[in-house]
Symmetry: C2
Subunit: 159 residues, 2 copies
DNA sequence: GAAGATTGATCGATCAATCTTG
DNA sequence: CAAGATTGATCGATCAATCTTC
């Protein structure tokens, strides 16, 4: 066997992938909302900033999160309002704005990240190490955009 | 081997799943935008209506698409404005509104669905039938919400 | 002129509140 | 009082336009 997959097969896989991803995402959004009164995009911003040592510029953040520049502006605005994130000038480039976690931001994120990891563990309860590895590999092969900044992709797709 | 997967392993799988799903989704949104000047949520509504014989009520649609009731109201409003969808009264229940595809809606959707299937085929080029089957099964096992209306889930999650 | 960032218009999505009908 | 649907407020997200700085 292992013949070529039909277009219908691939369509089914994609719909399954989309559905599963949305369902897990919905659970996590819901948990973030009821437990920490926050949202997934905000969590994602904090996670990205936590991974960086010296903070990120707005454009670096938008590439990291695969979202548009204007989107990041609004998100950071609200996070600054909540004192989780602080802006600073970039010493080298006066056009750029660097953002960093505040002490409160780091503290809050640590708590949320631990809970987040536990939730994912629950949701993927049935998976052993082998399953996880296989799924990971298959998904990596399905990813069409390993290092592509998606929202700016439209400049490169003529048809 | 095939020991228990650690929490970190599962977290990695989830991040991979989310990333792949978002990347494919972004490509399809982009194609829908440049090729047909439409969006994925609109496409999803048309697809759901096309699958149904006699049309759907607003609430049925919201369950089918896993989105909120108010969201559907706005989507249908715009689709009716574009003459792709028509409202009708429900003969049995005067509270309900049934929506159906118009002839134009059916025609337009047929064209878009064919293109959509081809795009997915391209994106999942590397997958043979066996890969597709394995991925499908693993994803099905990861889906926490087989028949759960997610936006209303919050009523049932106390903590 | 190009890159970093913001702004404004618009669409999607949620929630809470409300109105009508069952 | 329940359920179907809409409305209004708010957040997220895109795009196109603009401003400043490189």
């Amino acid at each position: 066997m292992t013949g070529k997959a039909s277009a219908k097969d691939k369509l089914r896989v994609w719909l399954r992938l989309l559905r599963t991803s949305r369902a897990i995402e919905a659970h996590i959004r819901e948990r973030l909302r009821v437990t920490f009164a926050t949202t997934l995009p905000r969590f994602d911003v904090l996670a990205a900033l936590e991974r960086s040592e010296t903070g990120l510029t707005m454009t670096e953040l938008s590439r990291e999160l695969l979202v548009s520049n204007g989107n990041v502006t609004g998100l950071i605005e609200r996070l600054v309002g909540d004192r989780l994130v602080a802006r600073a000038e970039d010493s080298a480039d006066r056009r750029a704005t660097r953002v960093q976690l505040t002490a409160k931001g780091r503290r809050d994120f640590a708590v949320m990240a631990a809970a987040h990891e536990a939730w994912v563990g629950e949701l993927l309860q049935d998976f052993d190490a082998a399953d996880a590895a296989i799924l990971n590999d298959l998904l990596a092969r399905a990813d069409p955009a390993r290092d592509l900044h998606v929202p700016s992709l439209r400049k490169k797709v003529p048809a």
